[in-house]
Symmetry: C2
Subunit: 136 residues, 2 copies
């Protein structure tokens, strides 16, 4: 009956709820999944590769809309190479900005944490003049 994996198996393999997998297919984050004669999803390795890609991209915060657009372009064929390149480049640039912001915040958190580690020891939180650290 099944050649590939059931939705539950894919769900467990990737830690994505079955409901979310159905939702992804419904809105087009992944292409239509292979079905059995009875109409039940039977994920092929291609289907699974799409799920894997979607999981990775979503984990990094790419919006659903960008993934849907990518899938749409993919199935429009070879005339959309440039559009797909543009889409991917744009998302990459957004991720690079996010990474920069994340590193900035991490540095700040680490600084605060260091102060609180001292505070827990001494019972006193030191005030200093590092930018943006006057009070909080």
């Amino acid at each position: 009956m099944f050649v590939g994996l059931t939705i539950k198996e894919v769900s467990e393999q990737f830690g994505i709820p079955s409901d979310t997998l159905r939702y992804y297919e419904r809105v087009g984050v992944i292409p239509p999944v292979t079905r059995t004669a009875g109409g039940i999803r039977d994920f092929s390795s291609e289907d699974i590769a799409w799920v894997e890609t979607a999981k990775c991209m979503r984990a990094a915060g790419l919006p659903i809309e960008a993934l849907i657009e990518y899938v749409r372009l993919f199935f429009e064929g070879d005339e959309t190479f440039q559009a797909r390149l543009d889409l991917l480049s744009e998302q990459r640039d957004l991720l690079l900005e996010r990474k920069k912001q994340l590193e900035e915040t991490l540095a700040r958190l680490n600084y605060k944490i260091a102060r609180y580690e001292v505070a827990v020891e001494t019972g006193n939180l030191s005030w200093d003049d590092a930018p943006g650290e006057q009070e909080a």
Copy 2:
């Protein structure tokens, strides 16, 4: 009348809508803002420092709830050093994980982009056996 900045000035300085600043105060992401006699917000440099911190933390994706809890602990006083340290450490660890995920996805995006740059030149998208890159 005003000793500090109006909500509009703060909004413009940080690129945060006035509505969002009011919302942040309402739910406790920032402490109650100083007011004029008439009840209009007059942001002191302390108020502004809290806004700046909130902006930085939110930009990195810390949840509203964590910021609210931090402000709450802050105003509970010196017995909450450990709790604040725990909160900050937890959020730092989450950011580190996100950063790792982001770097993974960036590497993958860069790989795809490189392939599409070739595809745009040659009119052909090359298939290879890099993990997870079979189709999409």
